[in-house]
């Protein structure tokens, strides 16, 4: 696998996804990710943030009947690959940090093989080498006593510990791309900060590109260089993080930023994104759907 240094790690072109009832989950989503870059995907629930990550990793729910567009990993079009090759290509280059550490580890299997399996299966490492790598990474994510943890079952460990393990597992095969699907949402606030810190550290050390799915603008500011704002499966805005926070062009983005509660302004009332703005966006989306279906595109 030859890679030119200037190649984009991830390029999504005109991605669409539709449910059997005609509901569109993703509408012409395009975005790129440079090597070593962190891009945040933000938007409200159901905006299609996670769906994009899942599409990249090839784990869209089976209910999604139709999807079009293309995904390129380091210039390699996934559409051009046969399903089997596609799976191994994606597995070689990318990894996932899942949202819920409680269900993301198989409860009846020990931690060790859950980290080493992909290394052995995809990267053809020996068991010993994979185990060494797993221990090294567990130590790296500040787990005391990695030898003991590797022989534990998930239920013997706390949520924070499990999320650390999942981070270790994601970074273990040194992937080019990591999809982090709201990795801090299921954790309590004190642990959230540490986990975020950890992901950022490891990301900087390894230079892995990260697609960071979140709905927390505070997290966005801390971790990402670029932001993609989504609404109803549509890209509303795509800009560097600083630009988003300093002068967002789209009113919805400004609404999102304004809605983020700040710790020093408890007296200030909570300001959600204005209802009429959301209603306007929904009307736009519907109008676009009408054009989409009448236009006779597939």
């Amino acid at each position: 696998m030859t890679t030119q240094p200037h190649e984009k790690t991830l390029e999504i072109r005109q991605l669409n996804a539709t449910l059997p009832n005609g509901m569109r989950l993703l509408r012409d989503v395009s975005l790129t990710l440079e090597p070593g870059e962190v891009r945040a995907l933000v938007g409200e629930s159901g905006a299609g943030k996670s769906m994009i990550g899942r599409a990249v990793l090839g784990i869209l729910p089976s209910a999604v009947v139709h999807s079009s567009g293309d995904i390129l990993l380091e210039g390699q079009s996934l559409n051009a690959l046969r399903p089997k090759t596609r799976r191994s290509t994606v597995a070689k280059m990318s990894a996932l940090i899942p949202q819920d550490p409680l269900t993301a580890l198989n409860p009846v299997r020990k931690i060790g093989p859950q980290i080493t399996d992909p290394l052995v299966r995809i990267h053809r490492w020996s068991r010993d080498r994979a185990l060494k790598r797993a221990l090294e990474l567990l130590e790296r994510v500040h787990i005391r006593n990695p030898e003991r943890v590797i022989n534990s079952y998930p239920h013997e460990l706390s949520g924070g510990m499990r999320q650390r393990i999942l981070i270790a597992a994601a970074f273990a095969p040194s992937p080019r791309l990591i999809v982090a699907d709201e990795p801090t949402t299921a954790l309590d606030v004190t642990v959230q900060k540490q986990i975020l810190q950890l992901i950022r550290e490891l990301q900087r050390e390894t230079g892995t590109a990260v697609l960071f799915v979140t709905h927390d603008m505070g997290v966005v500011a801390k971790i990402s260089q670029k932001v993609t704002v989504l609404f109803a499966g549509r890209v509303l805005e795509d800009a560097p993080t600083e630009a988003i926070f300093n002068d967002a062009t789209h009113p919805y983005t400004r609404g999102l930023i304004a809605a983020t509660p700040t710790p020093n302004a408890t007296a200030e009332p909570f300001r959600p994104v204005p209802q009429d703005l959301i209603a306007q966006l929904q009307r736009d989306t519907q109008a676009e759907d009408m054009r989409f279906y009448q236009g006779g595109r597939k």
Binding site: S62, A91, L96, L105, N106, P107, V108, D117, P118, R121
Partner: protein, 288 residues
Amino acid sequence: MVDATMPLRRRRFRVRNLRFWIPLTWIMMLVLAALCAPLIAPHDPLAQDLFLERLPPFFMDGAEPGYWLGTDSLGRDVLSRMIYGARIALFVSVIAAVSTGIFGSTLGLLAGYYGGWWDRVISRLVDIWMAFPPVLFAVLLVAVMGTGLTSVIAAIALIDWTRFARVIRAETMVQAHMDYVDSARIGGARRFTTLVSEILPNVMPSIIALLMLEMGIAVIVEAILSFVNLSISSDDPTWGSMIAEGRGAIHFAWWVLLFPLITLFLTVLSFSTLGEGIKKKFDPVLSS
């Protein structure tokens, strides 16, 4: 605070253990009796002695020493027949339950994980299958295949696989939506590998619980088929045929009916209770 919660935990622990150990002891006794039948049975189960017909059990007047649970209308020792009956009952229940379990669970796993046409075909088949009255079905199958233990076992497997298929399909669907399945897929695992090494271990406790339940059901089905004389030759001692024979003599020799009936009841109860207990012990989350 730790001290206050300790006795509570210990008590719960003990009750759960009793529910596990009592049925286990009963089953182990049966297994032992079945294995060592020739050694422990006081009499030949087939030996008839018309001078000793309808002897009452040991605690009643007129009991003959050595015939602990009395004799039947042909003077055969009830206890010995029950011990030999355990051989047939256990043999049938283990073989029938395991084959039913393998067949039904496989279909359940495939339907639950692959979905689509697999699921449609298997689920419809289950629906159709379950619309058939099971006992009639069993009698029909044995009538077609001829009597004998093989037919009984085949009949049980052919009828009851739907129980496994339905439950395991539902369990598999729940597990298939867990994030760890996605993680395995992202880690490059093929679908079949994911099913066998990630999902199967998680539905195993349910399979084992069902297996135990199925063993109990197999004992009953075998008894029903022997009762209507469709199992093995009526000479061979089975609990079902003993109950059938005892039925005719219930007014003057109730023990011929009652003792096999109690044994049957306790065995079926033990299997289903044990199933629950084992499920809990196998599950790393429930058992800790």
